[in-house]
């Protein structure tokens, strides 16, 4: 059983006019096997939350704590966080010229496991995972995310999720930019990873359509840098019908 605990997290970014506070005291606990959906308007700080947990250098934590099974995540480097079992599927995955997908996956797997995967089973595992995500095998020899379409990048994120087997996955709009078939394929991938690893999920989204495939246990409404309401799956439907107006008025 793994627990990711976010307590009173405050985060700023540096702007030309000095630091700007984006997260204002976020509290959230994600356990193995749980799925938490976070919904909220553009610019409310959802990606900031995900990046801050993953350790992007752009974000400065000004208060609060993040722990994974009691370990201080904020004290870890980006790669240490990943090796501790955190995974961030990015809203905008980065292109890495010169590094093929297959080389990248093998290097990441070796880093996470602390040893190189057995070549024969690894090649088979990668093949099978790509196949399940309906990714053409030629992607293995292409450079990481280079020239991938939006939907292909998202599949590639989920491919990594399945192969690297994190304890807690942060999915930042993994559903956006996907057509209906791709949405199903990608969702199934996330669900496989969840079952295989009793993975905890923090899923950021604007749409309930992905929640039909990946059923949340908890839905959180994120406005102006904090969680303003929590509920069950029914809250998502209500948000989709009525929008965020009533929370914005409060904020």
């Amino acid at each position: 059983m793994t627990v990711l605990e976010i307590r009173d997290l405050s985060v700023s970014v540096t702007t030309e006019d000095g630091p700007k506070e984006i997260l204002r005291g976020v509290n959230l606990t994600v356990r193995s096997g749980e799925t938490h959906a976070i919904m909220g308007p553009n610019g409310s700080g959802k990606s900031t939350l995900a990046y801050s947990i993953a350790g992007h250098p752009k974000y400065q934590v000004t208060g609060g704590s993040v722990t994974l099974d009691g370990q201080d995540v904020l004290a870890m480097s980006v790669d240490e966080r990943a090796r501790a079992g955190l995974f961030l599927a990015m809203q905008y995955p980065v292109e890495v010229p010169g590094v093929t997908v297959s080389n990248f996956l093998r290097t990441a797997k070796s880093a996470i496991d602390g040893q190189a995967p057995k070549l024969r089973t690894w090649v088979k595992d990668v093949r099978a995972a790509m196949d399940a995500l309906k990714m053409d095998p030629t992607f293995a020899e292409r450079n990481v995310n280079e020239g991938f379409s939006g939907g292909e990048k998202k599949r590639h994120e989920v491919l990594q999720l399945e192969l690297l087997r994190p304890k807690i996955a942060l999915l930042d709009e993994t559903d956006s930019g996907l057509d209906v078939d791709a949405l199903r394929v990608v969702s199934e991938g996330v669900n496989r990873a969840k079952v295989a690893n009793d993975m905890g999920i923090l899923l950021i989204t604007h749409y309930t359509r992905i929640l039909r495939y990946i059923e949340p246990d908890h839905v959180h409404v994120f406005v102006d840098g904090r969680i303003v309401e929590q509920g069950g799956p029914e809250l998502a439907d209500e948000l989709e019908a009525n929008g965020y107006d009533r929370y914005l008025a409060q904020a």
Binding site: G55, P57, D79
Partner: protein
């Protein structure tokens, strides 16, 4: 199908090709066909640095290689490989009629003017060398001028690796003559000490139906400027030029290629990749391809890619394609300069890969295809390690904040 319907002349520098410095694409004021070539230094005016062929080179760092004065030193040679390779010293006058191409700039013409004797390496016609020839050349200060002729006879087959080490100001002309149907792989590895200056010209003549692979690897030296000029003695020839370079702080590494398609049905493929890191690291790549009116059925492609690893490094990349006939199989060029930035580093680290390894991964992947073309496994391994040492040389500050 011909790429162009009608016979025409195109001079097409890539827009934004030198995006990291000049902004404006450079349009050469003359065709490569009109550029002067001569064995006599006196035929070349002393360049000011504004000339097309010198404009990227830091003229004040040429260490006397533009002075028409005799050589002071010679490189120490260590040759290993099959006995079938013949090595001799010959008077230049004895090489009349061999078809040695005339030098294309002042530095090379000084070498041929000053070097009365020429080192000749010969692989006789029809001989296939089973092992690569390896020539390790070491400089020991001063100024060294040398003219070497490598002649590979008709239907002969050879791999020759030249490895340059040590320190000197080296003016080099290497004339490569290949006979009909010959097959040559020539590797030139520049691993000079940090103080060395190397201004070289490799003139490669590709025989009828011959295949020449030219691979340049430049890691060391303060300033290296290597011009590789290829021409075809008959139809059906194939020229494949690849290169890798790694420029770090203070280094100027310049590779200039000129493929002169004057015979029909020949092919050329030029592919250079460079990485740069550190303050004022500088690389220059110029790729000129000229397809003359006679050269029907030409197929050519050239590409240069640069990977800028840190701030303060600058890569210039200038492909030029001139086409005088529409009856060709294809002609293309490309140039791209990318940056290894914090976002890429974050992405790789977010997958558990430590920072140093992330950099290694990117650079190794970038060079892998070209290093894989070197037909000597030991050199491949050595270069992979050498590149990683270059990479480790700059200590990276851990991302702050």
């Amino acid at each position: 199908m011909p790429l162009l319907e009608r016979s025409s002349r195109l001079i097409t520098p890539l827009p934004g090709a030198s995006a990291h410095s000049h902004g404006m694409p450079f349009v050469p004021d003359q065709s490569r066909a009109e550029r002067r070539r001569s064995f006599q230094a006196a035929d070349f005016p002393r360049p000011s640095g504004r000339e097309e062929e010198w404009r990227f080179t830091p003229m004040n760092r040429l260490a006397g290689l533009l002075d028409d004065a005799p050589s002071e030193r010679s490189l120490e040679w260590e040759v290993t490989g099959p006995d079938a390779l013949r090595v001799s010293r010959m008077e230049r006058s004895a090489l009349e009629g061999w078809g040695i191409p005339a030098p294309g700039d002042l530095a090379a013409a000084i070498v041929t003017s000053q070097a009365a004797a020429v080192t000749v390496l010969e692989v006789p016609a029809g001989v296939e060398l089973t092992e690569p020839v390896r020539i390790r050349r070491t400089g020991s200060g001063g100024r060294t001028l040398s003219h070497v002729v490598l002649r590979v006879g008709a239907q002969a087959r050879a791999t020759v690796v030249l490895e340059q080490h040590g320190d000197t100001a080296y003016g080099e002309v290497l004339s490569v003559l290949t006979g009909d149907g010959a097959d040559l792989t020539l590797v030139s590895v520049q691993e000079w000490d940090a103080t060395a200056v190397h201004v070289g010209e490799h003139d490669v003549v590709i025989g009828r139906d011959a295949t020449v692979r030219h691979i340049a690897v430049t890691l060391g030296g303060s300033l290296v400027r290597l011009s590789t000029n290829a021409s075809y003695a008959g139809p059906g020839g194939s020229f494949d030029a690849s290169g890798v370079y790694f420029a770090d702080a203070g280094q100027h590494l310049e590779h200039r290629l000129f493929v002169d398609h004057e015979a029909p049905m020949c092919t050329s493929h030029v592919e250079y990749r460079g990485a740069l890191q550190g303050d004022s690291a500088r690389s220059v790549w110029v790729g000129d391809v000229l397809i003359r009116a006679r050269a029907e059925g030409t197929l050519t492609y050239e590409i240069n890619r640069n990977l800028v690893l840190t701030e303060g490094a600058q890569a210039d990349s200038v492909p030029n394609l001139e086409i005088e006939t529409g009856q060709i199989r294809g002609a293309g060029h490309a140039s791209a300069t990318g940056r290894f930035d914090d976002e890429q580093l974050f992405y790789l680290q977010a997958r558990g890969i430590p920072e140093q390894e992330a950099r290694r991964l990117v650079v190794r992947g970038f060079f892998a295809d070209i290093i894989a073309k070197i037909p000597v496994a030991e050199i491949q391994g050595h270069l992979t390690q050498a590149v990683e040492r270059e990479l480790a040389r700059t200590a990276y500050a851990a991302p702050e904040k």
